[in-house]
Structure formats: structure tokens, C-alpha cells
């Protein structure tokens, strides 16, 4: 099978960041064809006019960066910020799960709906369009097939995730994008219905689906498949699995306080790491928001130069033109910060994903503790029973039991009574041994499969975060280049004064 066939056409993510379906444009084919080229070459030819048309939300990077401005030329590798981020998704896709071989998935649009909620009140909510289509190479010049679509709202995504959490407790379940905007710098809206927030959430939801679809275990789940393909019947199907019962017990157990006698050192270390990561990423996001605020201030104040140069140029003869043009460049400079910070939100989102991942990691560690604890309890219980039996047989009373006391008080029990008791205990011990065996097996199996997933996760995390850092560095370079450009232009104007 052509490996190119299951590379997710990344352009779908980018091309749909505005709110109109733009599937059938020629852009799709050219961009798709180009996405299949070597990763290192940014070669798309969409003109800047097209770019304007497609960038409704305005903040996402096109895989196309026709202008050389955004290309960081380092050694022989030309790479744009968008490409770097795409690399993360490429990595996901390269795993080549069976599901992804069959279909392409993306969250294409967001739409507002109003309806009655459970308490019969009107509410406004957003729904997201999930598109799936068979993964296959389109021959040159042909139109891609129309996708299957269905609408889902955020709460349904939450339901799916809860189901996965309960069904696969040994897997680190990918997180959903945040429900409410947090870590915002002041210009960014914290309003859930704000179009920029909705847009970033759309991307986050798509990312979630792709993460699940590229997971070696999760991608095979039927409920997940139905989520992507069955709009109406899905809710029933999920509830039918009876996972709700497990949810309650899971919640109870995860929050319970218990102490494991012999904790697995690896899990302890992992939990600690996860907590540290959580703390440090939170801190990073907070400080970054403050940095963004300040940077905003610096840039915007420069806009005042634009105004005063313009006013000053009015009283000058020879200097006037130079000043006036320089003033315009100052305005450009001041305006440039909006795009710069919008782009940086990408990076913040990538960090947030891993922040939320730490919760999932923690859950797995807790689940392991729980299983370990239950095993220890069973072992203890079994030992207790064996001891009881021994005492019965030897007649020594080391363990207090009511029966024992009453028999002492009211006379020795008969041989028959004793034998039946021993038999009952034997039965209980036998069952107990079975249980311990089973629990042991369960525990080992959990540890094995969990640790497999943890190794996979670690690798993924290292790669993804490295990519995120690269793309952040590229953003910084781009920002520097813009700054140099603007000030060079201004300098030219000053020289003409």
C-alpha cells in the first residue's frame, strides 16, 4: 500500500480554519499534492491573495509559506513554523494504525446552535463538524470524494473521553482542549463563544481525534469508530456498554485514600515526574501570558510615534516626506504584534495539551496503585483465612472470633460442626487463592500494558515538545525578521529626511 495514502493531508487542518467548507477548490489538490512531497520543502504556490481568502480566522499558518519571510534557513533545511507543527501530526500518522489507513478525519467547522437543554432552558452552544473520508490517493485533476459528516458538541467529546478513560484504564488517554479559556493574556478573550477561542478549540478537538485514531490500542475501539460515523445512535451505544457504572466506582476509588505497602517504584517516579511537569507547565503558561501582555504594550506604544511623526512632518519642508513615511512604518510595527501573539497561542496550546496529559498520566498511576492495593488486600485476606483454618485445626485460638468465644462459653462444638467450619474455610481459601491469582495476573497485565503505553507516551512527548520548541524558535525568528524589516524601512525613510 502506498505509504502516502495514509498520510493525513495536513492541509485539511489549515484550509478549514475559516468557517466555510472549502473542500472542492483547486487549492486542495495542489496543496495536497505538495503535502506529499518531502517534508523539508515548503513549496506551495498559493498566491498571497488566496492566502487572504482562506485565512478567515487569520491566525493559523498555512502549510504554504510562499513568501520567504517565514522560512528559517538553517543549513540545508528550510522549515516553516507550520511545517514544524505539521511534523507532530505527521509523527502521529506515521504510526499507521489500521483506522487511519482506512480513513481521514478532521474537524472542519464550528457552528452555533440553540436548543433546549436537560432542564428545558434555552441555551446556545457550539457544534463541530466531523468529516471522514476514505484514505486514498486522488489521481491528478480529479476531485476528492465528498466526505461523510456529522455534528458533535463538546459534551459528546467529553462523554467519549470518559468512556475511554474507564474502558482503558491502563492507557494514557489524550486530553480534550480546555473547556474554558485559561492563562489568557489580557487582549485575548476568555469568552467561550469568541470566534478565536472556538477556532482554537476546533483545532484541539481535531487533534484529540487524531491522537486517538493514531493510538495502537484506542484506534480499534468500536465506540470511537461509531463516534466518528454514527450521529444519532452513538449515545445509546455508549450507554449500552454500561461504562457509567464503572465511572462512579472509578471516581470513588481514584479519590480514595489508601496506602500501598510495596509501591511500584517506576510508577512512583512517573507520578512524581507528572506532578512536576504539571507545575512547571502551569508556571510557564502563566509567565508567558504576562510576557505577552508586556510585549503588547511595547509594540503598541510605538504607534504613537506614527502619529507624532505625521504631525511633525506637517511643519517640515525637506524632512516632511521622510518623517511621514517613517511614521507609517511605526504604525505597521505597532500593528504587527497582534499577529505575532495570535501565532504564539499555538505554542501555548501545544503546551496546554501536555499539561492536560499529566492528569491522564496521574490517573494511570493511581489506577495501578488501586490494583496493587486490592491485590495486597486479597493477599492479606487469604493469609488471614489460612491462619484461621490453622487455628481451627490445631485448636489454638490466636485470632479472636465470636464463634470461638461462644463455643468456649457455651461448650465445645461438636466434631461435625468443626469439620463443616473447616470445609467452609477451605472453600473460602480456595476461592481466595483463585482471586489472588487472578488479581496478580490482572496486576501484572496492567503493569505490562500500562508501561508499554507509558514508553510510547514518553517518546511521543519528547518528540512533540521538541517540535513545539522548534516551532516556537521559528516564530521568534520570524518576529525578529519582521522587526528588522520594519526598522530598516523606517531607517531608509529617516535617511531620506
Amino acid at each position: 500500500m502506498d505509504p502516502e495514502a495514509y498520510r493525513i493531508p495536513l492541509i485539511h487542518i489549515w484550509a478549514h480554519n475559516h468557517l466555510q467548507p472549502m473542500r472542492e477548490g483547486p487549492n486542495d489538490i495542489t496543496t495536497r499534492a505538495c503535502a506529499q512531497q518531502s517534508r523539508a520543502v515548503p513549496s506551495l504556490s498559493a498566491s498571497s491573495a488566496d492566502k487572504q481568502q482562506h485565512l478567515g480566522g487569520g491566525q493559523m499558518m498555512m502549510a504554504d509559506s510562499g513568501s520567504t519571510e517565514e522560512v528559517a534557513v538553517i543549513g540545508n533545511t528550510d522549515i516553516t513554523s507550520a511545517e514544524s507543527e505539521n511534523n507532530i501530526i505527521n509523527t502521529m500518522v506515521e504510526r499507521g494504525t489500521a483506522l487511519l489507513r482506512k480513513m481521514e478525519i478532521n474537524v472542519a467547522e464550528a457552528e452555533k446552535r440553540t436548543g433546549k437543554n436537560t432542564v428545558n432552558m434555552q441555551e446556545t452552544y457550539t457544534v463541530y463538524l466531523i468529516e471522514t473520508r476514505p484514505a486514498e490517493t486522488i489521481p491528478e485533476g480529479a476531485m476528492p470524494a465528498a466526505p461523510d459528516t456529522l455534528w458533535r458538541r463538546y459534551s459528546e467529546f467529553e462523554l467519549l473521553r470518559t468512556y475511554l478513560l474507564v474502558t482503558f484504564p491502563y492507557i494514557i488517554i489524550p486530553p480534550l482542549p480546555e473547556k474554558r479559556a485559561e492563562f489568557v493574556w489580557h487582549k485575548l478573550s476568555a469568552d467561550n463563544l469568541d470566534p478565536d477561542f472556538v477556532e482554537r478549540r476546533r483545532v484541539g478537538l481535531e487533534n484529540f481525534l487524531l491522537r486517538v485514531a493514531s493510538h495502537p490500542v484506542l484506534s480499534n475501539d468500536q465506540i470511537f469508530f461509531l463516534f466518528l460515523t454514527e450521529e444519532k445512535g452513538w449515545r445509546e451505544a455508549v450507554l449500552d456498554t454500561g461504562f457509567q457504572d464503572k465511572v462512579d466506582s472509578r471516581l470513588k476509588s481514584l479519590s480514595a485514600m489508601f496506602r500501598v505497602k510495596n509501591p511500584d517504584k517506576r510508577f512512583t517516579a512517573l507520578k512524581q515526574y507528572s506532578d512536576e511537569l504539571n507545575t512547571v507547565i502551569s508556571q510557564l503558561l502563566r509567565v508567558r501570558a504576562r510576557v505577552a501582555d508586556r510585549m503588547y504594550g511595547v509594540y503598541k506604544v510605538h504607534g504613537n510615534y506614527g502619529r507624532v511623526f505625521s504631525e511633525w512632518s506637517a511643519i517640515e519642508k525637506e524632512m516632511g516626506d521622510g518623517l511621514q513615511s517613517a511614521g507609517h512604518h511605526m504604525d505597521t510595527y505597532a500593528a504587527s504584534i497582534d499577529d505575532i501573539l495570535e501565532e504564539e497561542e499555538h505554542y501555548a496550546d501545544q503546551l496546554k495539551e501536555y499539561l492536560f496529559y499529566t492528569d491522564a498520566v496521574r490517573s494511570v498511576c493511581r489506577k495501578n496503585e488501586l490494583i496493587q492495593y486490592e491485590l495486597e488486600m486479597e493477599v492479606q485476606d487469604l493469609a488471614h483465612k489460612k491462619q484461621q483454618k490453622e487455628e481451627l485445626l490445631t485448636g489454638t485460638v490466636r485470632i479472636f472470633s465470636l464463634k470461638g468465644m461462644t463455643s468456649k462459653l457455651f461448650g465445645q462444638e461438636s466434631q461435625e460442626q468443626r469439620e463443616s467450619r473447616v470445609a467452609a474455610l477451605d472453600q473460602s481459601i480456595h476461592e481466595g487463592e483463585e482471586t489472588v491469582l487472578q488479581k496478580n495476573k490482572e496486576c501484572k497485565e496492567f503493569v505490562r500494558s500500562a508501561w508499554e503505553d507509558i514508553e510510547r507516551f514518553k517518546e511521543q512527548k519528547d518528540k512533540d515538545l521538541r517540535e513545539a520548541l522548534i516551532s516556537y524558535a521559528i516564530m521568534q525568528i520570524s518576529m525578529c525578521k519582521k522587526g528588522i524589516q520594519v526598522w530598516s524601512n523606517a531607517k531608509e525613510c529617516f535617511n531620506k529626511m
Partner: protein, 393 residues
């Protein structure tokens, strides 16, 4: 040419010759003033600040070096030490002896003792640059540069003796110019325009000063946050293995950017703002000269009126003072226009330099940051290709 040449300037042979050559075309005069200064024969520099501690006071002196071929000077080179108060003396002397000319400004005399450290490196450096500028402007001026007080300033070893009556004379002389309450009738349009221009220009410079200060403030706050930002990456690096180097790399980049920004801010504070402020002072000086001109004209008009009345009464001829006043006005106007032109020209150069300097500083800052991030990417991507090759092996 009936007009008398100004008495205060023993012009050099060449410039004198030039002036005699021309007819009354003022513009030609102005052009020639430029020509004479382009063939420079007087070079001055202010540098080498040194602190002097005596029982009475502590002060700074600067080395004033002169190189010249002018015959008005006995030697071709001089090297003397001067303190601020000496510059101030010179300025006062120039103002008094050349009332019709624009004298360049000095940096602020008084600084609030608690607020500014008069002996800090930055303050001294900034002040020295302003004094150097002052002296160069005087030396470049076709009339002022021939002033005997300047000569003394540049050549005499010990100025103190000469300074004795400086303060007293300052008061005395300036009183002369507050001429007996004459009111100006009609200011010529060109001088009105100059006044208006100066007012607006002064205003705009004030605004630019405020903006620059605000930017510095915002940058300072940004820098604080940015520093913390860098340390969080370092802290994160300690709990990672594979990601340790990349995260350290980011932390280091951020630190470099902080340094670059600090340099830029300091530079703006030391080079940009002082020059801007000094121009505001320059504008004030120019306004003063305009006022003096107005006074001179007013005096002339007043005397003329009085003389005309008297003439009508008893037929006495036009008194000599009135003619002298008329001369004064015409000379003043001519000097002022010439000075205005050169002031405008210098202003253009100065601001070109100032603003391109600002642009350069910003470019420089971004270049440093860009270089840092680019080297980080190389580091990160090298590791990537390393990983890939080890994977495929």
C-alpha cells in the same frame, strides 16, 4: 554697500573677501557662510573626564583639545582642562557679545542632588557628549568661532581670573536688552513663521520624549517578566532527560534576548533622550534670539516715531541713533536669517542621525535575538537528524 560690517567678528581673510565680493543678496551671503565653514580650519574636542576632589568641593573637568590653522590663534594646537562652569562662562560671554546670533545650548546646569548622581559614569558621559556638541557647534559657526572669548576658552590655561565678573556682567548686559518698554508694531511674516514653527516643533519633541520614556518603561517591565520566563525553562530542564538540552537552549536564548534588550534600552536612555532634550533647550535659545530681535525692532520703531514727530515740529534731521537702530535691526535680521538657515540644516542632520541611530539600535537588538534563536534551531534539528539516523540503523 552702505551697510557696515559687524564689529564683533574679525573675520578671517577668506570669508571677509567673500562677503565683499557680493552685492546685497542675502541668500548668497548665507551660501557663502556655508562655504567658509566647509573649509574647516578649527577642530575642537571634549573628552577625558576626570574627577577633582578639593577641600571645598568635588567636580569634574574635561579635556578640551583644539587644532587650528587660524591666524587668530598663536599656536596650532591647544590642550586645556575645563569644567562645566567654564562652559557656562563662555556661553554667557557669547550671548552678551553676539546678541544677534543664536548660541547653542548647554546641557542642564542643575541636577537634583538626591535624584541624579552627578559623578556616575552615565551622567558624566552624557554631559560630556553635550558639551562636545556645544563646542563643535560654536566652532562651526562662521561668526561665533571668531569670538575672542572662544579663543580664550580654548587657549588660556587658567580661566578663573577672567571669570571674576562673569555673573555681574551677565545681569548687567541682559538688562540692556530689555529695551525701554517699546512695543512691536508689525513683526515681519518670516519671523512670525519662525516663532510658530518653533512652538510646534518644541511641542512635538516633547511628545516624542514622552513616548520614548513610556517605551523604556514598558520595556523594563517586559524585561522583568522575560527574565522569569527564561528561568522557568531552566527549571523544567532539570526534570527532563531527552528534553533537557533543548529546554536549556531555550532558556539561554531568552537570556540572550534579555541582554540585547537591556543594551538597547540603556542606549536609548543615554544617547537618544539627552539629545532630544538638548534640542528643546536649543529651541528655547532660538526663541530668545527671536525675542531679542523683536525688541531691537521695537526700539527702532519707537525711536523712529519719536524722531519723526520731532522733525515735524522743528525740522531737526534724523538723529544718528535712529540710523544706528535701523542698522542694528537690519543686521540682526540678516544674522538671524543666516543662523536660522544653518540651524535648520543642522537640525535636519542631527535628527537624521538621531532617528537612524534609534532605528539601528532596534535593528541591532533584533539581529542579536535572531542569531540566538537560529543557533538554537541548529542545535535542536541536529539532534533530530541524529535521532532519525539512529532509528533507521
Amino acid at each position: 554697500m552702505a551697510r557696515q560690517l559687524r564689529l564683533s567678528s574679525p573675520a578671517s581673510a577668506s570669508s571677509l573677501f567673500n562677503r565683499l565680493q557680493l552685492d546685497d543678496d542675502l541668500e548668497a551671503d548665507v551660501r557663502d557662510l556655508y562655504a567658509s565653514t566647509e573649509t574647516r580650519d578649527l577642530f575642537v574636542t571634549v573628552d577625558d573626564p576626570k574627577k577633582h576632589v578639593s577641600t571645598m568641593e568635588t567636580y569634574i573637568t574635561y579635556r578640551v583639545s583644539t587644532k587650528t590653522t587660524r591666524i587668530e590663534f598663536d599656536l596650532p594646537e591647544y590642550c586645556v582642562r575645563r569644567r562645566y562652569q567654564d562652559f557656562d562662562w563662555l556661553r554667557i560671554k557669547l550671548e552678551d557679545s553676539q546678541p544677534t546670533h543664536l548660541i547653542p545650548p548647554l546641557p542642564e546646569k542643575f541636577v537634583m542632588k538626591g535624584v541624579v548622581d552627578r559623578f556616575s559614569e552615565e551622567f558624566v558621559e552624557t554631559r560630556m557628549k553635550a558639551l562636545d556638541k556645544f563646542l563643535k557647534r560654536v566652532a562651526d559657526h562662521p561668526v561665533l568661532s571668531f569670538n575672542p572669548h572662544l579663543n580664550a576658552f580654548l587657549s588660556v590655561k587658567d580661566l578663573n581670573k577672567r571669570q571674576g565678573l562673569a555673573l555681574l556682567t551677565k545681569v548687567g548686559e541682559s538688562v540692556k536688552h530689555v529695551a525701554g518698554g517699546y512695543k512691536l508694531r508689525a513683526r515681519p511674516a518670516e519671523f512670525c513663521a519662525m516663532g510658530e514653527y518653533l512652538d510646534t516643533f518644541s511641542q512635538k519633541l516633547g511628545t516624542i520624549d514622552r513616548i520614548a520614556q513610556r517605551i523604556l518603561k514598558e520595556q523594563s517591565e517586559y524585561l522583568t517578566e522575560l527574565r522569569e520566563y527564561g528561568t522557568v525553562y531552566s527549571s523544567w530542564a532539570t526534570s527532563e532527560e531527552e528534553l533537557q538540552r533543548p529546554l536549556e537552549g531555550v532558556a539561554s536564548c531568552v537570556k540572550t534576548c534579555c541582554g540585547a534588550l537591556e543594551d538597547q534600552s540603556e542606549s536609548m536612555s543615554q544617547d537618544f533622550l539627552p539629545v532630544l532634550r538638548e534640542y528643546v533647550l536649543y529651541i528655547e535659545s532660538m526663541k530668545n534670539v527671536l525675542r531679542k530681535r523683536d525688541q531691537t525692532q521695537a526700539e527702532y520703531e519707537g525711536r523712529l516715531e519719536a524722531a519723526i514727530l520731532r522733525k515735524q515740529e522743528d525740522r531737526t534731521p534724523m538723529p544718528v541713533e535712529v540710523e544706528k537702530c535701523q542698522d542694528k535691526v537690519e543686521c540682526f535680521n540678516a544674522d538671524l536669517k543666516a543662523d536660522w538657515e544653518r540651524w535648520q540644516s543642522n537640525k535636519r542632520q542631527d535628527f537624521k542621525q538621531l532617528l537612524t541611530g534609534m532605528a539601528d539600535r532596534n535593528i541591532n537588538h533584533y539581529e542579536k535575538c535572531q542569531a540566538a534563536w537560529e543557533s538554537l534551531i541548529t542545535l535542536l534539528q541536529d539532534k533530530q537528524t541524529e535521532d532519525k539516523t539512529s532509528e533507521t540503523n
